[in-house]
Symmetry: D2
Subunit: 317 residues, 4 copies
């Protein structure tokens, strides 16, 4: 039986200006800090159930170190290691708890050039009394500060790697299901929205042959429950002098979006709600042609197609 | 004592394609029809209390015939007539009920070139049982069809008339209070948001020396109660193949907006919510400089500054 | 390998007054009709992807005939048949397309007394041009009429059957995962919220030893995207003279709710949004004690604990 | 010409536990503090334009000292003084700036027993850079903390005074217009919703012959822009262990409500949105009969009619 990924776990981010990044993610976005260790800050949203969904540390330049994914079982970690080595992919073993909250894991580069970590074991730290939700099924009190999203949703990766091998690997080796995709007139996949969960995407992978380095990150995304939360986010961001793109609605994924960039790391955050869930076991991926790209990206609202602002990506290697 | 205007009453609109306009205003916007008489359709929103807030009839070209304003008292109609004639302005007497629901009125041209009708007496027709709200303080059931705004909010007029005389007339003769305004580096008012009510504006008047005819209409506006209603409106419009500008938020007036154009008349409709009320009797008009125009127009969201779409106006004479 | 259920499929409902039920579900709730065959009406929401999520037909009394569940693979249907027979449960084979849109299925009674149908094959009928969404990933235009929910969410079943055998069967034979549960001081499960999907529940099963017949239905639930949609639903329902319970928020599942009853069948519908998704593969079910039942049911808002209105259930056999 | 009141100004509140009240109003409700002087804290919402809309100080028991109303002109203050004395009502002159931000005023008791202060002159203190809105037409940044309402809306007063004289005084002497009212089968006004603005009510006055002292306060109300803001408020309140009534919708005034009580003073706060504006100069007050009282109070949602919680009032003298 093939090993399986259960969910997106966390993003390990390096910032060129840690203080700015912490103000952005803690005070403006409104994430909670689980702990700080060896200069790395571990953050999560009020409805995230694991140790952290984002880590940030100081570095020379803003970039993503790796992206963590939790497997379905403990055995899946080793099974993925074996499977990847059979594919000729170098796999590193990472000691348990080296990353706080994360047990034994394996680390490797996907063909798109991004580093993924796979793990199963996790620690769930207790929450301080004054920050803990009165709800047993919720981690922190909601609405404590800033925009206050519920949980990590997905990542959007760009790559200059050859398209078909990359998407095949994601589907065949890692088990992602293609949910929606954009196809060129020549029949190449230009972008794929893929998931192991019932979300439309845990990861979007965009083919960008022209990108300066192979593996890049376009954005990470946090989920909010209601459309109006996105409008409230816009107010909060403007009051703190942020530029952003949105609000608008994607046709692809049907999600309401707002994109804003962490001034410390250059990492873009998509505030995200709406969208739909896929329960059908035989889902037929929705195909969008090149001529539908603009409509697919912007069903209505402030357009992500036309803005220079959204073309920037940060390195993810 | 000076006569006073109480409120914006209605817009009398001519459409080059009446059928298209009726589909737009009745099915998409979701206005109710009070009555049809002599080919003129009288419409209003579910929370409008008067006979109609919009009339539409077939004509050669889309344009606004006149804009109706209700006075505070019956005596104010004649008093305004006298006052206007003292200003050298030609005043026509209009027979009561010539416009269904509207009593005796006077008609005249403001310096901006727009025709205003002033009236006090109104008829309030009974509402059909199946369309009547169960609420005693509400006219029709809400949410019966389409976007379903609550009530008429304001009009936005463009003019090539000389700026200072026009704004002075609005304030000194008609009693509008300037609430916010945009001023050129030379000290000319470029746009004024004015009201007789506690809204920021019942009328916005924009100085456009370059406009092809003197008196034009940029949009009429209907109010919705909640921000999400604007997002729902965007969904409804796209499903029916409409292009639009928005959603976005004005800095001036703090309102959430979406602009869409009636394909029959070319009349633009602003779907509008948020904003603020002015209760202070000594309100100091908020001044915005030319360099702040773009910020003033678009605090965030889909920009009205950059779109050709919103530059179009229809004749209002 | 054990067969698996992928998702809740549909509810087959019998109404004592079909006309009333159709007005309720089509005009007030705002479901679309896929087809009518042999006096049975097949309905679904604008975001449902399958043939129907609700069928209604005339009968002597309002009751649920059976509840359909789609399996993960075609082979799972037969595999479940075998598994159930091994458990000593009688299994009926149902011919393909006997129920429009639904292929070969098996029918059986779960220990709670409810009849479940398991199927995999489905037909996806084309949608009329004028009702079809402009979005490729959405079935119908949203907001066409009434409350307009997105999709079927879950069912809530009551039973007088012995508690522990019932919950064990759901988990061990059918593969439902317990997500949250309510436990008596004596250690009996009083209610369980269980899912095969990442929703908190596809089915809630409530132990009611005092219930007049063994298998009953408390409600079926349709999902709306935004909290405000529930408030808009309240307005629509009152304008049409419906009594209801809500809006309120459950602590268990964190969902915003409104309960209203179809006057034809007596079937209660929960309009539902908010809640959370479970991606953790080792989710620890959240336990609520008897003393927390009221808090668990009503975190805030119009209380379902105190209302006679919500105690009514209809037969489900 | 009769003097006129322009608007509700502020409530002067005494708390039995100042610290609790400050936590409630500053951190939970989210009001901003303009200044603290002589132990009195002056607060306002982010969209209030005047010095303060609420003052709180320590005292032996929670009660309202007086309610401030701003007049339309400076001359109106003296003119009201004269008018009141002609009615045989004792009028006190209050020195300018004795209450910070408030100029010369007069103080008197209305027949209902409540003390009103009338003033025109105000001071508008500058706002700290880091709390000031980037919007020129808004006082503070919105959404800085807690529930974050926009502005003071209205007060709801209870009295055991004889009904008809009380309502007559409010209308004839103070110039309030009756907008909606509840009438007993014997023809006595039981409650009146009255305004000098275009709101349905700046003050509601409820006749309660059984009340222990003559003049009492049921609630003060702050306005929020969107319905969802009320639901977010409910979440915030529960997370901080507050009991409350709502959300629900009044038929009278059409407003969405949530009632929560300051644990320091016992002063109830209504969080309020929706409702409608009255622009018609000849508005006919909407009459509700005794049998419609429950429907009038609770159109839907958590009922204010049935809850002991909302029967409590505090003294207002």
């Amino acid at each position: 039986m093939k090993p399986e990924i259960a969910k997106l776990g966390y993003i390990s981010l390096v910032s060129a200006d840690l203080e700015k990044s912490l103000v952005f993610f803690r005070d403006i976005i409104g994430l909670e800090e689980t702990e700080e260790k060896d200069g790395v800050h571990y953050l999560r949203a009020w409805g995230d159930f694991q140790h952290h969904t984002l880590s940030i540390q100081q570095g020379d330049r803003g970039h993503v170190k790796h992206i963590g994914w939790r497997t379905k079982t403990k055995e899946d970690v080793a099974a993925f290691g074996k499977l990847l080595e059979e594919q000729g992919i170098a796999v590193d073993q990472v000691d348990a708890w080296k990353t706080p909250g994360i047990g034994e894991s394996i680390s490797f580069q996907v063909p798109s050039g991004h580093t993924f970590n796979l793990y199963f074991d996790v620690k769930r730290p207790p929450v301080d009394e004054h920050r803990r939700s009165v709800l047993k099924n919720q981690t922190y009190k909601s609405w404590a500060k800033g925009i206050s999203p519920r949980r990590l949703d997905h990542v959007n990766l760009h790559t200059s790697a050859e398209s078909s091998a990359t998407y095949s690997f994601m589907e065949e080796v890692l088990g992602f299901k293609m949910r929606e995709y954009l196809i060129s007139d020549e029949g190449n996949v230009l972008a794929g929205w893929m998931s192991v969960t019932q979300l439309v995407h845990d990861v979007a992978l965009v083919s960008r042959p022209e990108t300066p380095t192979k593996a890049r990150l376009h954005h990470i995304s946090y989920w909010l429950d209601d459309s109006q939360d996105i409008l409230r986010a816009a107010d909060i961001l403007r009051e703190h002098h942020f530029e952003f793109v949105g609000p608008g609605k994607h046709a692809i994924s049907q999600a309401l979006y707002l994109y804003v960039t962490d001034p410390g790391s250059g990492c873009r955050v998509e505030l995200f709600t709406g969208s739909y869930l896929i329960f059908e076991p035989d889902w037929q991926p929705v195909e969008w042609t090149e001529s539908e790209r603009s409509f697919g990206n912007t069903y209505w609202g402030d357009s992500i197609s036309k803005k220079e602002l959204v073309k920037e990506t940060i390195e993810a290697l």
